[in-house]
Symmetry: C2
Subunit: 193 residues, 2 copies
DNA sequence: GTCTATAGTACGATAGAC
DNA sequence: GTCTATCGTACTATAGAC
């Protein structure tokens, strides 16, 4: 029997791992760090998970799920396609922290192991399709030009966000992120029919 | 006396470190790996450099310098501003390998240490200014609209490339990178006066 | 389920011979 | 300048008591 309000040690481990994966990536995060942050012992971690990789996959799915929910909310807020994609670009983010999902892609161990990469790939594949769908709806409704390459524009929007994180972290300045996303919004306006 | 053709052990260390930093990042690259790839012993590395961080800074400046030269070449190839920025977007790259400079920005140890972050920050600050200058010249010559926000567009172009790497690595597909850069080129066309 | 103890390996760095 | 030997620490994981 699991309580609905009390969080189990397992949940604390997953959340601590998700935080550390966000902050430090996979390779630079050690089981000891996760245990310390979640106030769990060695034994607890190895009881609930087979090892670092197993816990990381669970934590990555946790992070991707959270981000997916927040993204859905943004993409559903607004009536026109440009409003909805604009809301995605304007989502509340901490540019200096980086993307909790996208940052994992730089890790050699993550890309090398299909089990570790799967949650990341699934997230971006879903996101690409989701934004392309919103744009396609805009084309169908007559809001956007009929010759709009919705797949390419979706890639541009996502790349702008991911690249914006890189610029912000490199210069330690949130403004670098905003410059990129605002420029993307300006570019989207030209898709209007 | 240093020969002009024979590479010294120090150069081998720097090049091996630059490769590994590109492939694996800072935290996941160990001195032992660098020594093995450069066929140098422990003693050689610690004779020429004070430690891992010192060698890494030298290797990062080496990588940034190479990329800066290649980028200069691209930005100088073409007559119009759109051709020159387009050449930057179309530079020969391996999207699955990631950006040798941009990837370092995800490393917590790099961002935490100003000495390690400096080469990365300098590169992106230079790149941002360089692309903004090319666009500004396009505005001045009458090629681009006078109300063009050159700083924002430069950020969009750079973010597209950096984000394109993220998409390509996440999906293990070069096409994801090309979709983003081609969409950026389409967006740039709308800047025409 | 959680704890402590410990395994075996690799880490980054230093010492000292040559 | 380069080598081997070694330091002390941290790594990921397992064992076995409770």
């Amino acid at each position: 029997m699991y309580s609905r309000v009390m969080k189990a040690t397992k949940d604390h481990l997953v959340e601590a791992a998700a935080e550390l994966l966000w902050e430090r990536g996979y390779a630079a995060t050690s089981p000891a760090m996760i245990q310390k942050r979640s106030h769990a012992g060695q034994g607890s971690m190895y009881h609930h998970f087979s090892g670092k990789a197993d816990l990381a996959v669970t934590a990555m799915r946790h992070s991707a799920g959270q981000l997916r929910l927040a993204t859905e909310t943004a993409l559903d807020s607004g009536t026109t396609a440009l409003e909805r994609v604009g809301a995605y670009l304007d989502m509340e983010r901490n540019p200096l922290a980086g993307c909790r999902v996208g940052r994992l892609v730089q890790d050699p161990d993550v890309v090398a192991d299909d089990r570790l990469r799967a949650p990341v790939e699934e997230f971006f594949t879903w996101l690409q399709q989701r934004i392309a769908d919103v744009l396609a709806e805009g084309v169908r409704s007559g809001e956007l030009r009929p010759d709009t390459d919705v797949a390419a524009m979706a890639s541009l929007v996502i790349a702008t966000v991911q690249g914006g994180y890189v610029l912000a972290r490199a210069q330690q300045d949130q403004a670098a992120f905003r410059r990129a996303t605002q420029a993307a919004k300006s570019a989207l306006v030209h898709l209007r029919a």
